[in-house]
């Protein structure tokens, strides 16, 4: 019997490299485990938010690293270096504007992802831990927004941080320590900028990567929840694997979000205000848009005074976050259909409407101040 190997059966260099790595780390098994995850009820557009968030984070890291090539994190040079990025560096305006709108997209997608999980009832047993880690990730995303806002060192950045740190100061027990730790002095200055910069570029990315990994691991362990409607026959017939249907939808979702961020960068590129000074002058301090609802809430008469401010700034949001954390342990009913969970549906509508009303109110309030 003669063996005459044909050219078609000979392994290419790429195949040899893949075999080499596979022999050592079990690459093919890993890929099979990652891609052949069954998706109950089939792929859906509603499931793209997690992957889109990961994509936005990667893009924020890439643009952030490119911005760091030029940015100088000192009180003397932060403003000038940001202006340099905007006006002198080739495509610098686009990078900074993309990074700015990317952070907004991240907050929007986190809200969308959390809403989808809540409405689908996907936080219920056995997915409680995924929900809890998700809440921590939500806090980290908000932290990214808060710390990154100071870095351009203009009036908006300076006063938004001042307002934010003052709100934090009202937290009992550790609020004073946190405020002093973040500010590093009586007023925001070099120490504040250094600390915010380190938290923004080192602490939070590391925390996010760790928690996102844990989130994915827990998700893979528990498996996708699937749709909340449909007969077992329907679900069984439509179930397919993560690859290629869901991956294709994820890619389209990422491309759409990328296009939206780019379009926003064109439509409203970043423009700095005057350089930061301890005198606000004509500028009316206010935080970034996703904290505006809380800021407007604190303007209400009911939340005036020391206790009122504590109630509005710390107690209410704290209680709301605690309620979200306790949700999988309070809501033990296995029913996942949102139309059969009226309290959950009404609660979600009320929270979303309140956030929308107070955010728009804060925008209208600017006219009264001007």
């Amino acid at each position: 019997m003669s063996h005459t190997p044909s050219t078609s059966t000979q392994a290419t260099i790429l195949e040899k490299v893949i075999d080499f790595v596979d022999e050592r780390v079990g690459l093919k098994l890993l890929a099979a485990k990652m891609l052949n995850e069954p998706v109950p009820g089939g792929s859906r557009w509603a499931y793209v938010f997690g992957s889109v968030l990961l994509f936005i984070f990667i893009m924020q890291s890439v643009t952030g690293v490119l911005l760091m090539f030029y940015y100088v994190p000192t009180a003397d040079h932060a403003y000038a270096s940001t202006q340099y990025i905007l006006h002198e560096v080739d495509y610098g305006w686009f990078l900074l504007s993309y990074h700015f709108w990317g952070s907004t997209a991240m907050v929007v997608c986190v809200f969308a992802h959390m809403s989808q999980v809540f409405l689908w009832g996907a936080y219920k047993k056995p997915r409680e831990l995924i929900w809890l880690v998700g809440l921590a990730l939500f806090g980290i995303v908000m932290g990214f927004g808060f710390t990154g806002y100071l870095l351009p060192w203009d009036q908006r950045a300076y006063w938004a941080t001042t307002v934010g740190v003052e709100i934090m100061d009202k937290t009992p027990l550790f609020g004073d320590f946190m405020a002093r730790f973040l500010k590093g002095g009586a007023t925001p200055g070099q120490m504040t900028l250094s600390r915010f910069f380190v938290i923004h570029v080192m602490v939070l990315p590391a925390a996010l990567m760790g928690l996102a990994g844990l989130h994915l691991f827990l998700f893979r362990s528990a498996g996708p929840a699937g749709p909340f409607r449909g007969t077992p026959e329907e679900l069984k017939a439509k179930t397919d694997y993560f690859f290629p249907r869901q991956i294709w939808k994820d890619i389209v979702g990422m491309a759409a979000v990328f296009a939206c961020i780019c379009a926003l960068a064109f439509w409203e590129p970043v423009v700095l205000l005057e350089e930061a000074t301890p005198d606000p002058g004509d500028y009316h301090p206010e935080p970034e848009w996703y904290f505006l609802f809380l800021f407007q809430l604190l303007r209400l008469k009911i939340f005036s005074g020391e206790f009122g401010q504590f109630l509005g700034a710390i107690a209410l949001p704290g209680a709301f976050m605690a309620l979200l954390a306790a949700l999988p342990f309070i809501d033990r009913d296995p029913e996942r259909n949102i139309f059969k969970r009226p309290i959950a549906l009404i609660g979600w509508v009320v929270v979303m409407a309140a956030i929308l009303i107070f955010t728009v109110s804060a925008i209208i309030n600017r006219e009264y101040l001007d």
Partner: protein, 337 residues
């Protein structure tokens, strides 16, 4: 299941077709929006959210937008790109409605989709949109304006005049926002019902399928995947590469919205410094200047000599009168330099 299909209301039918069709076409439309923005062909006004909604809902806004823009003097932006975008949206929407319609007919309605379903659904949706959307626009705008003025006049009464600003803003917004959103939602449901009514004829003309559920799902699943996946991937990658190249080549290097604080100073280009040429040039110039100095000194000396000579001649003529001694030395300035 059969009951659910038969009891599907026209509004549910309209929503079931339009909602996925909007999202199916959107990523492709967005790619063109981005390209036109980079090329400077589109300038959206502050109401970018509205522009986004108009584009998203382009099967129903494609003919309604010109009516709203021209008839009601309200526009979402400027530039030839907007008209081009809505023109490009037509084939994209026909394709999206075709895909969505075929899968919806088969999976949800258990009917065999007809040939050219995308085009049929598109013109029906566009027709309903062209008539109904301007009405919706006028009704919602009028309701919003009327409610805002009513709520404002309510807060001008003595009873509510002293309400703090923050509370006043939030209550006003809640009141007129609730009314405006209620009217908008009601009209949207009516619009969807109209679309459903118009589509129903197409549904009823489609022949019911007698295939098993598993068989239907297999067909439905295959409908969502192109027959030649390799060709689709290659053409998509090619399209993405072309669009990316166009985008990066048209992307402005510096901000298209320069800030007043940072206007670029006009810098004139300085010639490049060439050390050898500069040295040679300087050497030549020094030599030239040295020659000029030497010439000037020579001229000065000659002039002084001539002066002395003239002086000497005058003295001699005087001395000749006096008859000077031959042994008397010449004056020092009479010497040659």
């Amino acid at each position: 299941m059969s009951n659910e299909r038969e009891s599907m209301s026209p509004a549910q039918l309209g929503l079931g077709i339009l909602w996925p069709a909007f999202w199916t076409g959107l990523p492709i439309k967005l790619a063109f929006v981005l390209l036109f923005l980079a090329l400077g062909m589109v300038h959206f006004e502050t109401r970018i959210g509205l522009a986004f909604l108009m584009l998203l809902a382009s099967p129903v806004t494609v003919f309604a937008l010109p009516t709203i823009t021209l008839g009601l003097e309200s526009h979402i932006g400027e530039g030839v790109g907007i008209a081009l975008l809505f023109l490009l949206a037509i084939p994209i929407d026909i394709w999206a409605l075709g895909i969505v319609g075929r899968t919806f007919f088969l999976e949800r309605l258990r009917r065999e989709p007809q040939e050219g379903l995308g085009l049929t659904l598109w013109w029906k949706c566009a027709l309903v949109g062209a008539i109904f959307l301007p009405i919706l626009w006028v009704a919602v705008s009028a309701t919003t304006d009327a409610t805002i003025s009513a709520v404002r006049s309510l807060f001008e009464t003595d009873l509510l005049n002293g309400t703090p600003v923050a509370e006043k803003i939030s209550i006003e917004l809640t009141l007129w926002g609730t009314v405006a959103i209620a009217v908008l939602l009601l009209l949207l449901v009516i619009g969807l019902w109209l679309v459903g009514r118009v589509i129903r004829g197409t549904v009823e003309s489609a022949r019911p399928t007698s295939e098993s559920y598993q068989g239907l799902i297999t067909r439905w699943d295959l409908m969502r995947v192109p027959a030649d996946q390799g060709l689709m991937l290659t053409s998509l990658t090619g399209g993405a590469v072309v669009l990316s190249l166009l985008f990066w080549s048209s992307l402005p290097v510096f901000t298209p919205h320069p800030h007043d604080c940072c206007k670029k100073p006009e810098v004139k280009a300085t010639p490049a410094f060439k050390p050898l040429e500069t040295l040679n040039k300087d050497e030549k110039m020094i030599a030239q200047l040295a020659a000029q100095v030497e010439l000037l000194e020579k001229q000065q000396a000659e002039a002084e000599l001539a002066k002395d000579k003239n002086k000497g001649k005058g003295k001699a003529s005087k001395d000749a009168v006096k008859a000077p001694a031959a042994t008397e030395p010449a004056p020092p300035n009479a010497k040659k330099p």
